[in-house]
């Protein structure tokens, strides 16, 4: 390899072969590592951490080059086109040496295509640390001789052998023609027998499955203990994002208030001062308060992923989800959708069946995503007292949050159940086969980095939209009378014009304006409302937005209707764009946008009348 030019090296391997962790170690990049089959859905790249002129490309994990799922197809197509690229210097095929036979079935396919495209291959036999713990060995040198390519024992976990990778790559050779002319198109059993023979000859011998895994499985998949622990884990997830994130949120709010009290006196009264107070501290400040929740949620979901529990949760959920036309594999995309619909939609590529994948797409936008969280938190804070029950263990606000989250999930299941039954072609499916990864302690550093990146992304990407919308709303609300009366502003006129749409839920024009602006991104609702109330009460003390809503005399039914509306409506431009990208047409996103808007409006109206009738 030339020392001046950057060499591109492709990393490929089966799910759970530890490929992503190896990539992280090699590049020092913040690439997400998850302990669930098929979680890497995009090709990440990164320069070598030790200063070599090597750029590693991490391809999504696949079981085979013969694809059966949409995700695998994308990964294999990308890998095949990379092989045809001259800048690709070599391929590292990662295999789990504790499960050598399975790894070799795949490696033999990789060797064959690399021979065809004349690319050198290095087989990285990962997880050598597990063999060391069990005092087992495998004969890398003889395997290397048999395959006629370099085999390097490594451990991504302990970094053992990683320093030798650049040198091994420099010496890597193009695999020779195999005993078969075209292994991936030929009878799979020959490939299988060859892999079996090699694994028996050179692989580790003995029982490597950790007994703890079976013991933990018999607990987490136990008929009632498993169900109970599932509900406890899911409930803790919701409590963590609401109750446990609260002190940090209060901290952020105090900092914003303190900043406002320091900055505002320095600005002479007038347009600039009003803008800083209402649009900056009122609008942006109201949205920043919710960043800690997004951080905690991403961290907890990542922890569950990394520990191996999510695969068990998919097993638990499979039978019930099948009733609603989905599969256990829909659980991960749907749970990711609780953080954000966008990673959820990407993760739906792991659902092999096209039909189930489409049904999963219908469900994801209804999952209670983190962008809804600021809206829910605001409405709940305005209507539900911050008291605790059951000896301080459970907060009423947390319980209300749990209910509205549950409502969103039930809506998602209702939609998929109805749609899957109404269409005959949606009823048949590919079978459910899911690898159970070993349980392991989550690696904190990648998880914290991932949560940090997600929060940063939320602030920078959503923040830009929110800032732009906030400025527009503030200008419309402030002029032409310089904030003297919001009712006479441009925004007031627009609001009154659209008021009849939202009046049936008991919402005045300010909420109408906030809902309209939230079609850009849901969380804009809070910023807009903050700006609107800020302008309305200019000159008063900096009270929290929730308190202002409470004081404005909004009826309980209207609050409940707002929650229901936000739980259903698909107000997210990014989600629609990603759906278009994944399905290849605007048909599904447009259909979903229109039908969920109508569904949301009707359900909110029904909720308003129900609450008004009951109270």
């Amino acid at each position: 390899m030339s020392s001046t030019q950057v060499s591109k090296i492709a990393l490929i391997g089966s799910p759970n072969s530890g490929k992503s962790l190896l990539f992280n170690r090699l590049t020092g990049l913040n690439q997400k590592v998850a302990n669930f089959p098929g979680i890497t859905v995009d090709i990440a790249s990164g320069k070598s951490a030790d200063g070599n002129n090597i750029e590693y490309l991490d391809f999504p994990g696949v079981y085979s080059l013969q694809t059966i799922s949409g995700e695998e197809k994308i990964a294999v197509q990308a890998f095949m086109s990379a092989l045809q690229d001259d800048v690709l210097e070599a391929v590292i095929c990662v295999v789990d040496c504790t499960r050598l036979e399975k790894g070799l079935i795949f490696a033999l396919q990789v060797l064959e295509v690399c021979h065809r495209y004349n690319k050198p291959v290095l087989i990285a036999a990962n997880m050598i640390d597990i063999l060391d713990v069990h005092d087992m060995h495998f004969n890398a040198a003889s395997l290397s001789e048999a395959l006629k390519v370099s085999v390097l024992p490594v451990s991504a976990k302990t970094s053992a052998g990683l320093a030798e990778i650049p040198e091994a790559l420099a010496q890597a050779s193009v695999p020779p023609a195999s005993f078969q002319s075209d292994i991936i198109a030929s009878d799979e059993s020959i490939n299988h027998l060859h892999a079996q023979e090699l694994a028996e000859k050179y692989g580790p011998k003995g029982d490597l499955l950790i007994k703890a895994q079976t013991r933990l499985d018999s607990f987490f998949l136990h008929s009632w203990l498993g169900g109970l622990s599932f509900f406890i884990i899911m409930y803790l997830l919701f409590q963590s994002i609401f109750t446990w994130a609260a002190p940090v949120m209060d901290g952020v709010e105090s900092i914003i208030q303190w900043l406002a009290s320091v900055v505002l006196p320095m600005i002479p009264p007038g347009v600039a001062s009003d803008f800083t107070s209402d649009a900056l501290f009122g609008g942006i400040g109201a949205f920043l308060v919710f960043v800690p929740q997004i951080f905690v949620l991403t961290l907890v979901v990542g922890m569950l992923e990394d520990s191996g529990y999510l695969a068990r949760a998919a097993v638990i959920c499979h039978k019930p989800l099948r009733f609603f036309g989905l599969t256990g594999k829909s659980f991960i995309p749907m749970l990711s959708g609780v953080a954000c619909a966008i990673p959820g939609i990407y993760a739906a590529r792991t659902v092999e069946s096209t039909r189930k994948r489409w049904l999963t797409y219908l469900a994801i936008p209804l999952m209670p995503c983190s962008a809804r969280l600021p809206v829910y938190s605001l409405i709940i804070a305005a209507f539900i007292p911050a008291q605790k029950a059951f000896g301080g263990l459970v907060g009423w606000q947390g319980l209300a949050m749990f209910s509205i989250y549950l409502f969103g999930i039930l809506c998602a299941l209702f939609v998929t159940a109805v749609v899957s039954r109404s269409s005959a072609e949606l009823r048949t499916d590919l079978p459910f086969v899911l690898e159970m990864p070993p349980y392991r302690l989550p690696s904190w550093r990648p998880l914290l980095r991932n949560a940090w990146n997600r929060s940063k992304h939320f602030v920078t990407k959503a923040g830009k939209v929110i800032f732009a919308v906030t400025v527009v709303i503030w200008v419309l609300g402030y002029f032409p009378n310089y904030g003297a009366s919001l009712g006479d502003s441009w925004l007031g006129s627009m609001g009154r014009w659209i008021e009849p749409i939202f009046a049936p839920f008991g919402l005045d024009w300010r909420y109408g304006v906030a809902i309209l602006s939230s079609f850009l991104a849901r969380e804009v609702f809070v910023g807009t409302l903050g700006t609107l109330f800020g302008i309305d009460s200019a000159g008063e003390d900096f009270t929290s937005l929730a308190q202002q809503i409470q004081e404005s005399g909004l009826p309980l039914g209207a609050g409940a209707a707002l929650l229901v509306f936000f739980a259903i409506a698909l107000q997210c431009v990014s989600t629609l764009a990603v759906l278009k990208r994944e399905t290849g047409s605007w048909r599904l996103p447009v259909q979903l946008f229109v039908s969920y808007s109508i569904f949301a409006y009707v359900a909110a109206l029904a909720m308003f009348h129900l609450v008004e009738f009951l109270t």
Partner: protein, 74 residues
Amino acid sequence: MTLWDLTQGASAKVSRFSASIESGYRTRLSELGFHPGEQISCVMSPSLGAPKLYRVNNTVYSLDDSIASLIEVS
């Protein structure tokens, strides 16, 4: 007898796949280790018809009845 009929703790050898399994999926099952002649054990059989856990070599997979009942074992 099919794979789905295996009780928890029991093991058997795969004899053949039902013809109703699509060929692409049959290949995938082979690649995962569910290959005729391979010894499979049922490590966990959760109640309420949830997918069962099967061990092949050092890997555990979860299969539901729709697929496990199409794999014949003896």
